[in-house]
């Protein structure tokens, strides 16, 4: 047993120092052995031997988290964030073409099952810090790339995917007319182009669902976005909601109109408690209000929504202007701002159509204010205090 524990910790050191640390500070993140679901507990509690590694990860996690919302402290080691990183690690291993060989091909199924088990163990985030920690990990991983090298000499062509070419291949470059071509591929692209049967994109979507902040910010990766309980819990935290809204508005609300409109429609269809509706509507209304008000500072959204679920999203703003109820306070603006919002609402009402506006108004009428957070309500407030 002692041997086993030592091996697990050695693997943890390799994982944190070789993979997680460069993931944040940049550079080459070296993948290690596949991680089984049984090591999750050890990985969630262990700490790296080198305190500088832990310190760097903390600093960069906090920096990335602060880009979204103000947060005092981002926990590390945090079980959720580490498990997200473990799942990403395994998903990346599965994109290795060298696994598609005789004998090694059989390893893909167990690795995929381990990954699914790890993802299934990840609990919903309980604090703002936790939500932002796992977003920081995912955000960096979604930006990561793989470098492929093609080496040609006078006789042969060699291809190396995600590994540097060995020295003997590139030796004596002049004599052997060695030429190297390097190309880079985004990991997101590799995960979505997996082979049939591997379902890496399904696993990635499941992983995104464990990080509500990433799910909302990268709605383009989630075709059927839903306002789940974890997502609504995050949105009920005003600071976090505000940060997410600002990050989305930076890129314009055009491309998220369809997924968010769809999410609102699904939420309404499920007949949720009025407090759930309130949180979702405040989020969507703030998105549109901030977009109008940001236009004054020179920011212009990229495109406008046109059809489908986008109509429902567009109808939230005109419906809000007709609304008389708990959401009214959102429109307590200065006269100039209010005029701009009204002008945009008229425009949106035209795009959405009267039916969509009335539908949205009926959803707004059902919404009831919630104190500050949803279930788990006390945990967010408690940890943030």
């Amino acid at each position: 047993m002692a041997d086993d524990a030592t091996k697990v910790h050695a693997l943890y050191e390799e994982f944190v120092t070789g993979f997680l640390h460069p993931l944040f500070v940049g550079g080459t993140a070296q993948l290690t052995r596949p991680l089984s679901a049984s090591v999750t507990e050890h990985f969630s509690l262990a700490q790296p031997v080198d305190p500088n590694v832990e310190q760097d990860i903390r600093i960069w996690m906090h920096r990335l988290a602060s880009e979204v919302a103000a947060v005092d402290h981002v926990p590390f080691p945090d079980a959720g964030a580490v498990q997200v990183a473990m799942a990403l690690h395994n998903l990346t291993i599965l994109t290795d073409p060298m696994l598609d060989r005789t004998f090694s091909r059989g390893a893909r199924r167990p690795i995929l099952e381990w990954t699914a088990a790890i993802i299934a163990q990840i609990p919903a985030p309980q604090t703002r810090g936790e939500a932002l920690a796992r977003h920081a990990v995912l955000q960096r991983a979604l930006e990561a790339e793989r470098e492929d090298t093609v080496v040609k000499n006078w006789a042969y062509t060699y291809r190396f995917f995600g590994r540097p070419p060995p020295a003997n291949v590139t030796a004596m470059p002049r004599l052997r007319f060695v030429r190297e071509e390097k190309t880079r591929k985004r990991m997101v692209q590799l995960w979505s182009e997996d082979e049939p049967g591997l379902t890496l994109d399904t696993q990635l979507r499941a992983l995104l669902a464990r990080s509500p902040v990433t799910e909302l910010l990268r709605a383009d990766l989630v075709p059927t976005l839903q306002f789940g309980q974890a997502t609504l819990a995050c949105l009920s935290d005003a600071t976090l909601r505000n940060g997410i809204v600002q990050a989305i508005v930076k890129d314009g609300t055009g491309h998220i109109a369809q997924p968010f409109g769809h999410a609102l429609r699904v939420l309404h269809a499920l007949g949720p408690p009025p407090e759930f509706l309130y949180v979702a509507l405040v989020f969507l209304a703030e998105l549109q209000l901030l977009e109008v008000l940001d236009a004054r500072t020179g920011h212009t959204p990229k495109d406008e929504p046109a059809v489908g679920d986008e109509e429902l999203f567009a109808a939230v703003l005109p419906a809000l202007l007709r609304h008389e109820g708990p959401l009214e306070h959102l429109l307590e603006l200065q006269d100039v701002d209010r005029a701009s919002v009204q002008a945009r609402a008229v425009e949106r009402a035209k795009q959405a159509g009267e039916d969509a506006v009335q539908f949205a108004a009926s959803i707004l009428d059902r919404a009831q204010p919630v104190a500050s957070v949803l279930q788990p309500p006390s945990t967010f407030a408690h940890h943030n205090a």
Binding site: T28, L31, V71, E145, E147
Partner: protein, 505 residues
């Protein structure tokens, strides 16, 4: 109710607040909430003692507030301007038992404290109708405005209190420059008294219209401006019925001798116009003399009897008897002159003002500093600037009446000798600089070698201390590049806890 603002946070839910250059959350106005007026006065008193209330006065608003439960509190709101000013206000307000907030129009959030060095932001805005909403970490409260108090009214309504040192000031002596008012009945006697003791003073007659129909004549008072008042005279006047003695605190306002106003009036001098005299009496009454009546020296107001007598000595001389050998030796004296000041190129700063001088030198522009030459005497500093000494508003200014001969500005040497004669008279000075003093019969000579540039004379030598400094870390980390582990024929061989997982599965 509140959450702490974080570094680089740019958006806040509190309307009208934003981070300043230091990252501190700041609105356009700062607001201090007091439970009662006496706490407000304590705040003004402490703030005025430490700094200047004048900087707050242009934007100050004092209001009585009422909560929905009809309890009353007092607020004082000023332009925030910078977090430095707000820090001062917060520090003093804390002493006086006030709570400090910042905001712009209606919503005010708690100003920063040690718990949150960058300030606070509200979690949720209160949207109920109110004139003012305050958000503190322990409460949030709606207020309505009840009435506005003018700062000037507050100052005029406060009663001065008797100072524990009696007539003596903070420095243990009675000030020599005083103002006094006296009823018309004793005015004449005081005029004569002042003239008899040769106390330089000026007098005027102030008049106020009658307040009531029963008054048969307007109220009249003599107002005296007495300089160089001997201590016994000040004590005598302060004990005389019908006479009030005031200690001038500024150009146009004074508080009765032996009393102190609850608010440091010197720090809010902009309240008082120069053409109106404000005299705060110990019993709380404020005499406002407007317009200022013309003042005349007491010697011209006192009644004199002129009698003509024949000069006996000249009569004797007419008899042919010589009056003896008469010699004339006239010492040079300083006399006041009404001529405009010319060639004010030197100042003598007494030792007591050394601290001020050193502070001033930090503030001087480089060209003034380079032209300035200084000599350090036993008990005073001599400063010369051939282009004019106005840059150093300290000490006694001296005008150059002849090359390297200086007399205090506003005075002149009598008999009025010409510059070449004067140079001959002080021939033994060599290459030194001669300074005439009003209170010394003999002038002082400061040798030319004693003067040197300020930068050489007073600046300490510098020694640099090496400190460690690094480049700031890059804000943007380079993108991570994923690299696979070395290829294995059997990738799962040797993976720790692999079997356990298989069993669990």
């Amino acid at each position: 109710m509140l959450e702490r603002a974080a570094l680089h946070q740019t958006r806040f839910r509190t309307p009208g607040v934003s981070p300043d250059a230091r990252g501190v959350v700041l609105g356009q106005r700062g607001l201090v909430l007091f439970p009662s007026v006496d706490r407000l006065v304590a705040f003004f008193r402490a703030y005025g003692d430490e700094g200047s209330l004048d900087e707050l006065l242009p934007s100050i608003q004092i209001r009585q507030l009422v909560t929905p439960l009809k309890t009353r509190e007092i607020m004082c709101s000023v332009h925030a301007e910078s977090s430095y000013r707000m820090d001062r206000i917060a520090g003093v307000a804390k002493l006086a038992g006030g709570l400090v907030f910042t905001g712009t129009s209606r919503h005010f959030v708690k100003y920063r404290d040690t718990g949150s060095p960058l300030g606070y932001d509200v979690q949720e805005l209160l949207d109920r109708p109110a004139d003012l909403v305050l958000y503190h970490d322990t409460f949030r409260q709606l207020y309505g405005f009840e009435r506005e108090l003018k700062f000037r009214d507050l100052v005029f309504k406060l009663t001065p209190y008797r100072q524990p040192t009696g007539l003596l000031g903070m420095d243990g002596s009675i000030p020599t420059r005083l103002w006094a008012t006296s009823e018309v009945g004793v005015g004449g006697a005081i005029l004569t008294y002042l003239f008899r003791w040769q106390i330089p003073a000026r007098a005027a007659l102030a008049e106020w219209p009658s307040q009531s129909a029963f008054d048969d004549k307007p109220k009249r008072l003599y107002v005296f401006d007495i300089s160089n008042t001997p201590e016994r005279v000040a004590k005598l006047f302060s004990q005389l019925p019908g006479v009030n003695v005031f200690e001038p605190l500024g150009k146009a306002f004074a508080v009765e001798l032996g009393y102190r106003h609850p608010i440091a009036l010197e720090s809010c001098s902009s309240l008082f116009d120069d053409d109106t005299l404000h005299l705060f009496r110990g019993d709380g009454e404020v005499l406002v003399v407007h317009p200022l009546p013309p003042f005349a020296p007491v010697r011209s107001l006192v009644r004199t009897n002129v009698s003509l007598e024949e000069d006996v000595s000249t009569k004797e001389r007419r008899d042919g008897q010589a009056g003896g050998q008469l010699g004339m030796s006239l010492p040079l004296r300083l006399a006041s002159s009404s001529d405009p000041w010319r060639a004010v190129t030197a100042t003598v700063v007494p030792l007591a003002q050394r601290e001020w001088l050193s502070r001033l030198l930090y503030a001087l522009p480089p060209n003034t500093l380079s032209a300035l030459r200084v000599a350090v005497g036993d008990d005073r500093f001599y400063l010369l600037d051939p282009s004019g000494i106005e840059g150093v508003p300290l000490g006694t200014f001296y005008s150059e009446v002849a090359p390297r001969i200086y007399v205090p500005s506003g005075l002149t040497l009598v008999p009025a000798v010409s510059a070449p004669v004067l140079q001959e008279l002080v021939r033994e000075r060599g290459s030194g600089y001669v300074f005439f003093d009003a209170d010394q019969p003999e002038p002082r000579v400061v040798s030319a070698e004693a003067f040197g540039p300020v930068s050489r004379k007073v600046l300490r030598e510098l020694s640099a201390r090496p400190v460690s400094a690094d480049r700031p870390i890059d804000e943007e980390a380079p993108l991570p590049l994923f690299q696979y582990d070395k290829p294995r024929r059997f990738p799962l061989w040797g993976v720790p806890k692999r079997e356990e997982t298989a069993e669990e599965d």
